[in-house]
Amino acid sequence: MIRRLGAGLAVLWAAATASYLALLLAPGDTVDVLVGEGPDTPQIRAAIVREWGLDRPGIVQYLAYLWRLLHGDLGRSYQSQRGVGEILATQVGPTVQLTLAAAAAGVTLAGLIAVVTAGRGRAARAAVSAAELVAVSVPPFLIGIVLLAVFSFTLGWFPVSGAAGPAALVLPALTLGLPIAGVLGQVLRGGLERALEQPFALTARARGLTERALVTRHALRHALIPAVTLAGWFTGSLLGGAVITEVLFGRPGLGRVAVDAVTGRDMPVVMAVVLLSACVYVVISTLLDLAYRAIDPQTRS
């Protein structure tokens, strides 16, 4: 457990340092960012450098950053002139809501479709496969705008915007969840069908188990291992997809904060978002390890 904690901290430090270096090496400097599109004179530049302590060497700024980080101080945003912790605090909630809802929608859809269609007639499989392919290959932006046009603008079932109430969460969650359902559904069905060809399936059928019971009680467990591995992938895709979804639906959230920060080279915010996502990955991969043990008794040694 201690080793795991240490590894997690090392990942966090590496993520912070790598993103710090990447931003340092990227073209342009922080003063340009702070000057922005506005007037640019030596006096204005000097004032900005003084205000933010940008005249110190890079290594000093980096160490000062790590030191503050150890004290739980994420710094101040260059762009919005507010504390980074405060910005993230207001934006984490909506993103967590969105990603959990999207993950739930994706996993549920994938599970349902895979269980219902595995080992069924060719026509049904082909139709579902095609739908999955569409969900995976169409850009989320298009999925979102079509969902909006049909279910919000035309039918008026769901409001277009805001994080207000569960109704406003449905379309964004579907936008983000459909591609996940597509990939996961394919993997899950493939796994199920392979499992159904195994000798144990034959035995179970011989015991008189119905096909449905065989799929849900026995084959599903085998099919879950590759699908669970994919959960790591879709955590990343959720964070990335959140950007598009949040902008499209006018939702608050981390995705937008991250994009604005990267384009504006708002170093303190970028670093905080990177650290947060690294944290999420560490937690998820730990949970996945535990999940493997629960699903597959062979790994419990």
Binding site: A26, Q81, L142, F153, R256
Partner: protein, 532 residues
């Protein structure tokens, strides 16, 4: 591809959505806007797109009219001394801030002096307030402001968001002063009571409001009891939200959607030209090939601007002829049709400049070098389909004159590096300053903070300096007309393309929507009401 999608969405939306039932006598309104404010402190304001929010919460000292003159607001009268160095403001004595404190000469002085705090707003301190020396409280409601030198733009400052009056108590107590938000108390017709970043702003009416600017359509408190501004950055989503009745007003209607709004009998669409400067290409004269005036002229002659604007903006854009936007009082109409669009002339000029040979791809060549010009633009500042516009210009100069126009859209850091390293030939810019002179002061003098032509003309500098110190409107207009003729016609430093505009679309039941005469951007919600 991305352009097709909004049209698709609208086509789908138009099939089923009837105008939603509107509740009679409702006095709350939802307005979808494109851009999220970086800051809600008026004295830190930097985005013209969110100017419509500033004057809901705050009032300035003066108001600027469409003809460039000034009217009373929180200052009911003012005098300027003959030497232009002393401004005496006579303030209203019936104004209170949202936090209950009184507005008086001492609070105006506190707001002015706030800019002297190092790091508070270095840009405003160095530009708009460069002449500010001190403010003296003469009586509770009389303030005397002394300048170091005459500054014709000082009244423009007094009418700008920067002069939005903040309660001195909240200037001291606000935790996030530079960000503003609900903690800053203004005197405006609405009180900001909720801000959800990424989602919305919510204002409620200030029932004590009795001090609208000169030119307001009514007196007393605002008509609306509350207003919500919702952030919807995607134009197609804004339009869909409007057509389906989920919001009553939107701003920012791109050309691709304007026709669909016009066809809906339940909606209205209003457009106004922005103040400031036109969207223009500025030629870098410090390096080849634009160090040669003939090449600069040839570039302009090679483009059929009307055809380009028709294809990119479907006839909704207004062609620019001068660097100064056609909406402002200083615009010089004598430049109209004075240049441009003569392809034969473009080719003759390039031949004369020595660019005679052509290479295998049809581009002109001189001494083995291709006639290449580059523009480098930071992606976050690309708006109004200016990327598509650049491609249309690129196609025209290639086809008509064999010029290789390379368009790069990059991250802000790379763009800044290219500008610093002088690795560009064309600089794209438009500015929304309420006084065009303020923009010209940045763009044209040799030491100007945004001078990307790297050209300096002593005559232009002299005229700009004189206009900057001159308070007579007619004389300023004459001087700025000279400046425009010099940089557009005589020197061909600038290629004006179109005048930026703003649009408001709304349900028919919403009245009193309009544009801020100073900026040409959507006005605040003070006069807005919901009728039948």
């Amino acid at each position: 591809m991305k352009r097709l999608i909004p049209a698709l969405a609208l086509a789908l939306a138009a099939c089923g959505a009837g105008p939603a039932a509107e509740t009679a006598a409702s006095t709350s309104l939802t307005w979808a806007i494109e851009t999220q404010p970086i800051t809600l402190n008026p004295q830190q304001w930097s985005q013209n797109k969110v100017r419509l929010l500033v004057f809901n919460q705050f009032d300035a000292l003066l108001t600027r009219r469409a003809d460039g003159s000034f009217g009373p607001w929180l200052a009911r009268a003012w005098q300027v001394s003959d030497d232009g160095l002393t401004y005496t403001l006579h303030l209203r004595d019936d104004v209170t801030f949202h936090d209950g404190t009184r507005f008086d000469a001492a609070s105006v002085k506190a707001n002015l002096d706030q800019f002297l705090v190092p790091g508070y707003n270095p840009a405003v301190a160095a530009i708009q307030l460069k002449a500010y020396k001190e403010a003296k409280v003469v009586s509770p409601h009389t303030l005397e402001i002394t300048l170091k030198e005459p500054d014709a733009l000082f009244p423009d400052f007094l009418a700008s968001p920067y002069a939005g009056q903040v309660s001195p108590a909240s200037l001291k107590s606000a935790r996030d002063l530079k960000f503003g938000g609900t903690e800053l108390a203004g005197t405006g017709p609405f009180v900001l009571d909720r801000y959800v970043p990424g989602q919305e702003l919510h204002y409620r009416r200030n029932p004590a409001y009795r001090w609208p600017p000169d030119g307001a359509a009514h007196q007393g408190p605002a008509h609306l009891s509350e207003i919500t501004y919702r952030f919807l950055p995607e134009a197609a989503v804004r339009v869909g939200a409007l057509t389906s009745g989920q919001v009553q007003v939107i701003e920012g209607v791109p050309a691709t959607e304007a026709a669909l709004i016009g066809k809906d009998p339940g909606l209205t669409l209003k457009t106004a030209l922005n103040s400031g400067t036109s969207f223009s290409y500025y030629f870098n004269t410090s390096r080849a090939p634009f160090d040669d005036q003939r090449v600069r002229e040839a570039f302009r002659e090679a483009v059929d601007v009307d055809a380009v604007l028709r294809s990119v903006y479907r006839g909704t854009a207004t062609r620019a002829w001068s660097v100064v936007a056609a909406s402002g009082p200083f615009y010089d109409p004598s430049l109209e049709n004075a240049y441009g669009g003569a392809v034969a002339k473009a080719n003759a000029l390039l031949d004369a400049a020595g660019w005679r040979q052509r290479d295998a791809e049809g581009y002109r060549v001189k001494d083995g070098r291709r006639l290449t010009v580059r523009s480098v633009t930071a992606a976050p500042y690309v708006r109004d389909r200016r990327d598509v516009l650049a491609q249309a210009v690129q196609a025209q100069v290639k086809q008509n004159a064999g010029i290789d126009f390379q368009v790069r859209i990059v991250d802000p850091g790379t763009a800044q590096e290219a500008l610093d390293a002088n690795e560009y030939e064309i600089f794209e810019n438009s500015r929304g300053d309420s006084d065009a002179g303020a923009a010209l002061n940045l763009l044209l003098p040799g030491e100007g903070a945004l001078n990307r032509t790297r050209f300096s003309d002593p005559r232009v500098e002299r005229w700009l300096a004189e206009a900057g110190a001159e308070s007579g409107q007619a004389r300023r207009k004459e001087l700025y007309a000279r400046v425009q003729r010099a940089v557009v016609r005589e020197r061909a430093l600038v290629f004006p393309i179109y005048v930026p505009a703003d649009q408001i679309a709304a349900r028919k039941s919403v009245h009193g929507l309009g544009f801020d005469p100073a900026s040409g951007t959507p006005a605040g919600a003070y006069d807005v009401r919901i009728g039948t």
